[in-house]
Amino acid sequence: MMTRLLRFACFCVSLLVLVTCAPAEKAPIFVWHAYRGNEAKALEQLSQDYGRAHGVRIELLALPYSAYASKLEAAIPHGHGPDVFIDAHERLASYHRNHLVAPATAAAAGDFDASVLDPLRVDGTLYGVPLASKCLALIVNEDLAPKSIASMEGLLESPMPQGVYPLAYEAQSAYAHAAILHAWGGQMLRPDGSFGMVGPEAEASLETAKAWSAKLAKEPDAALVTQLFTSGKAAAVISGPWFLADLGGTMKVKVLPLPMLAATGKPLRPFLTVEAAMLTPDGAKRSEVQDFVHWLATDAEALRVRSTVGKQVVASGGGGGESETTRAFRDAAKGAMPMPTLPTMRSTWVPAEQALRKALRGDASPHDALEEAKARFIDAIRPPPPPPPKTPLLLVMGAALLLLTFRIVQRVREPGFRAELRASKPAYKYVTHAAVIVFALVVLPLIAGTATSFFAGTRSDPTYVGFANYAAILTARGGDLLGHGSFYLTLLVTILWTVLNVFFHVGIGMALALLLSREKLRLRPLYRTLLILPWAVPSYVTALSWKGMFHRQFGAINAILAALGAEPISWFAKFSTALAANVATNVWLGFPFMMVVTMGALTSIPKEVLEAAEVDGATPWQVFWRVKFPLLKPSLLPAVALGAVWTFNMFNVVFLVSGGEPDESTDILVSAAYRWAFTRDAQLGYAAAYAVMIFMLLFGTSRIMEWFGEKREGK
C-alpha cells in the first residue's frame, strides 16, 4: 500500500513538473484576432510572408469570439496583451474608454475612403487602421429567384416552387432589421446618443417585418438561414460576406445590393461595420508594429491575398483579382450606413431586439413595444449617482469587523478553549494546506469581487457609489417591485427553476442508480456509459442541440408531437413553455451527476446490511426507504445542497437555450447579473452587487436550513 502511495505521489510530482515547464519566448509582434476559416487562413499566409521578408516573427493568436472582448479587457491594461488586435469598429468606443487602443494616424496613412476612416475616429482621432468592411446584401440563388428584382415586395410576391421560400433572413436580429428601419428613415441611435428606434418610422418598419414574417420560415437563426439557402429552399437571403464561405461551389449565386422597399421608394440600408487593426498602447510604441499594420492594410500583395484567399471586402482600393461577389459586396457597402460608434450603441441592441421579437410575436403593438424599449434603454444607461460620503460603508464594515472580533474573543474566553485548541493540533495537520489554498485562491478573489460592487462606471475609471447599486437592485430601480426584470420577480423565477431542477435531478438520478445497482442486471456497463453521455459531451454543444430540438418549425420535439397528433408549440413564445424547455435541458445535463454520486454512495453501503434486511423479509420498497435511503442521506445531502447551489447559479443553460426569451422572463438572477456585466454598457459594479445579493440569499438560506437541522437533531 505504501509503495503504491509513493508511486502515486511520484506521478503527481512529475505531472506538476510537466505542467510548469513552458518554453521561453522571444519578442515577436503579437497579433490577436477572432477570425476563422478563410479570413484566418489569409492572415496566416500574410504574416508568414511578411515575417520572412522583414526578419520579424508575427505571432498570431486566434481566439474564440465569445471570449475575445473580455480577454482584451483583462490582458491589455496589465501589459499581457498583443501589439495589435483585429476587431470591428463597433466596440471601439468601449475599447477607447478602457484605454486599450492607441492613436493609429501614422499607420493608417494611405489611400482610404472617408467612409471607412470616419467610423474609426473617436473625438476626432483615428484609432484603427481599416482592413475590411462588412455589410448585408442580397444573395440570390439564380435558379430560383426572378431574373430582376425591382423591390423587396416584388421578390416576396414572386411565384416559387412548392416548399421554397422567396427569402430567408435573421428576422429576429436587430442588426438585420436595421436595414428595414433605415429604409423607412428611422435610426437605432440618434447622433446625440439617445435611443432612436421610436416614432412612426420605426413602427412602420416593425409592421413591414411582421408582414414579411408571415410568408417566411419561422424562428430563422443564422444556421437555419444557411441551411435553407444551401438546400435550395430559399431563393434569396439577406446576409454578409461571411455567408459565402459556407456555400459549396455548385450553386449559381449572385450578390446584389439590398433592393428597394416599394412602400418607401428607398432601398433597404444595412449597417456598415469596418474591421480594423487596432494598436494597443504598448504596440503603438514599436515602429516595426506600425510598419506591419500599414503593410497589412495597404500593400498590394496583402490586399490581393486578403481579397482572394480571405474573401474580404478590403477597405483600401480594389485589391487585385477581386471576385465578382466581393465586388458586389463593395457596391452594397457604398449605400450602407456606418454603425454609430457612440458608447451607448452597445446598450441599444437588447431592447431593440426585444421590441422586435415582441412585435413579431404579436405580444404588443409596435408602438408599445418600442416605447418600452426606449424606457429600458434609458434605464440601462442611467449615469451613476454622485459619489456619496464614504462613512456609511466604513461604518458598516467597522461594525462587521467589530462583531467578528467580539465573537472570536468570546470564543477564546470560553472555558477549556486552550485544551480544545491543543486537541485540535493533529487535525490541523490535515487541513492547513487546504485552508491556505482555498483562502488564497477562492476567498480573496471573492472579497475583491465584493469590493467592486461599491463602484459604478467602467473598469478603467470606476467611481465610488457606496450602497447605490444595492439600493437600486432592492427598489427594482424605482419601478414596479414585481415588474419586468425586477430583482424580486427574477428571484421567484430562480427559485422555481431551482426547485424543479433539483427535484428531477435527484429523482431521476437516484432511481437510475438504484436500478443500475442490481448486480444481476444485464448490459449494466453499457447502460451506465450511455446514461453518463449528457455529462460527458461538452454542455455548450448539447445545450445548442436542445435549442434546435425546440425549434417551432423544424425541431424534433414538435416533430414528435406532430407524429402523436398534437399541435406544434412555439416553445420560446411563452414563459411556461420556455421555462419547460430550459428545465428539460438542465435536467438532462444534471441527472447523470446525481446518478454517479448515488452510485458511489451505494457502493459504500455494506452488503451485509442489505442481506440482513432481505433475510428479515423486507420488501424492496422497505429496503429502500428504511435501509438504503437513511444510509445514503449523509453522503448525498452535501451533493444535493451543492447541486441546488449550482442550479441556482446555472448561467449557461438559460443563456444558450431560451436566452431569457420571451422578453427576459426566463432569466434567473445570474443571467440578469451577466446582462448587466456584458450587454448593458458593462456595468461590472452593478453585476457584482447582484452577485453579492445572490451570495447573501444562498448563504442566509443555508444557515436557516442548518439551524432547523440542528433543532431537529437536538429534539
Partner: protein
C-alpha cells in the same frame, strides 16, 4: 412470471432513460457527420444528410497545413491540465475531508461554512481578481496557473463529497487498527483510503471532467496556441456572424470521447471498490 415482468419493467425504464440521454447527442452525431446541402425539415430520427467525414478532418487539422501536430499538442495540454487538476484536488482534499469527518477541532464549523459559501458566489464577480492574482504569482499563460484555477473549484467540491463518504465508513475498523498500535496517519492511509476509493474515483472523475470541458477561463488566461486546451479550439469554430456547426459538433464528439473512455475505466473501479475495499461492516 412476476419476476420476468419486473425484469422487463426495469429494462424498459432504463431504456427510456437511455433514450432520453442519448437522443440529443444523436443530433450532435448526425450534425457532425452531415455534409453540406441538407434541407431543414422536421424529423424525429436524426440521420445525417450527405454523410461524410469532412467535419472530423477539418477539426483534426488536415484541412490546414500541418495542423495535426498542433492538435496533438493541444490534446496533450487538455489531458495534462485535467489530470493535474484531478490529482491536485484529490491530494489536497482527501486529508482535509478526513479531518473534517473524523476529528474535532476549533474552527471546524466555520471552515465548513466558508467552504459552502465559496460555492455560492457567482463567478461573474471573481474573474477579474483571479486574473490579477495569477499575474502577481507569474502564473498567467501557464498550464500550472490554469490547474490552480480549476483546482479552486474542484477542491471545495471534493472536500464535501469525500467528507460525506468518509462519514459513512464505519469507524470501528480505524479504531481497531489504532488499538493494534497503528498511528492516526497509518489508520487513514491503510484503512480509510482503501474504503473510500470508489468515492475518490468519482470525485476525481468530476474534477477531470469540469477541467476538460471549461473554456472561458482557459481562453482568458492562456495566450499561446501551443498552450491552448481543446475546448478553446472547439469554441473558435463559432464566429461573430457565422459558425461552422458541423465542425463544432465533430470536435465536441472527439473531445468527449476520452471522457467516455475514462468513465468506462473508472466505473470498473467503482464496482471493484466494493470487494477490494474491505468494507466489512
Amino acid at each position: 412470471m412476476k419476476k420476468h415482468l419486473s425484469a422487463f419493467a426495469i429494462h424498459f425504464a432504463i431504456w427510456l432513460a437511455v433514450l432520453f440521454a442519448v437522443y440529443p447527442v444523436l443530433w450532435v452525431v448526425s450534425l457532425a457527420f452531415s455534409g453540406d446541402g441538407g434541407a431543414p425539415e422536421p424529423r424525429v430520427i436524426p440521420v445525417p444528410a450527405h454523410p461524410g467525414f469532412g467535419n472530423f478532418r477539418a477539426f483534426l487539422g488536415f484541412a490546414d497545413d500541418g495542423g495535426f501536430g498542433l492538435f496533438l499538442t493541444q490534446l496533450g495540454n487538455s489531458l495534462l491540465v485535467s489530470l493535474a487538476t484531478a490529482a491536485v484536488a484529490i491530494v489536497i482534499a482527501t486529508p482535509a475531508a478526513y479531518a473534517l469527518a473524523r476529528m474535532p477541532f476549533v474552527g471546524k464549523r466555520s471552515a465548513m461554512r466558508v467552504l459552502l459559501a465559496t460555492q455560492m458566489f457567482p463567478a461573474v464577480a471573481s474573474a477579474v481578481p483571479l486574473y490579477l492574482l495569477l499575474e502577481t504569482l507569474h502564473l498567467l499563460d501557464s498550464r500550472a496557473g490554469l490547474v490552480l484555477v480549476y483546482a479552486t473549484t474542484a477542491i471545495p467540491f471534493a472536500i464535501f463529497q469525500l467528507r460525506g463518504t468518509i462519514e459513512t465508513i464505519p469507524v470501528d475498523l480505524e479504531e481497531a487498527a489504532m488499538v493494534d498500535g497503528a498511528t492516526r496517519l497509518q489508520a487513514f492511509v491503510k484503512v480509510v483510503l482503501p474504503a473510500a476509493r470508489p468515492a475518490i474515483a468519482v470525485t476525481a472523475l468530476f474534477a477531470f471532467m469540469s477541467a476538460w470541458n471549461e473554456f472561458i477561463l482557459a481562453a482568458t488566461l492562456l495566450s499561446r496556441k501551443s498552450a491552448f486546451t481543446l475546448p478553446i479550439v472547439l469554441q473558435s469554430y463559432v464566429g461573430e456572424h457565422a459558425a461552422s456547426w458541423g465542425t463544432f459538433a465533430a470536435g465536441a464528439l472527439l473531445v468527449s470521447a476520452p471522457v467516455m473512455a475514462l468513465f468506462y475505466l473508472v466505473q470498473r473501479q467503482l464496482v471493484a471498490g466494493l470487494t477490494a475495499g474491505g468494507v466489512k461492516g
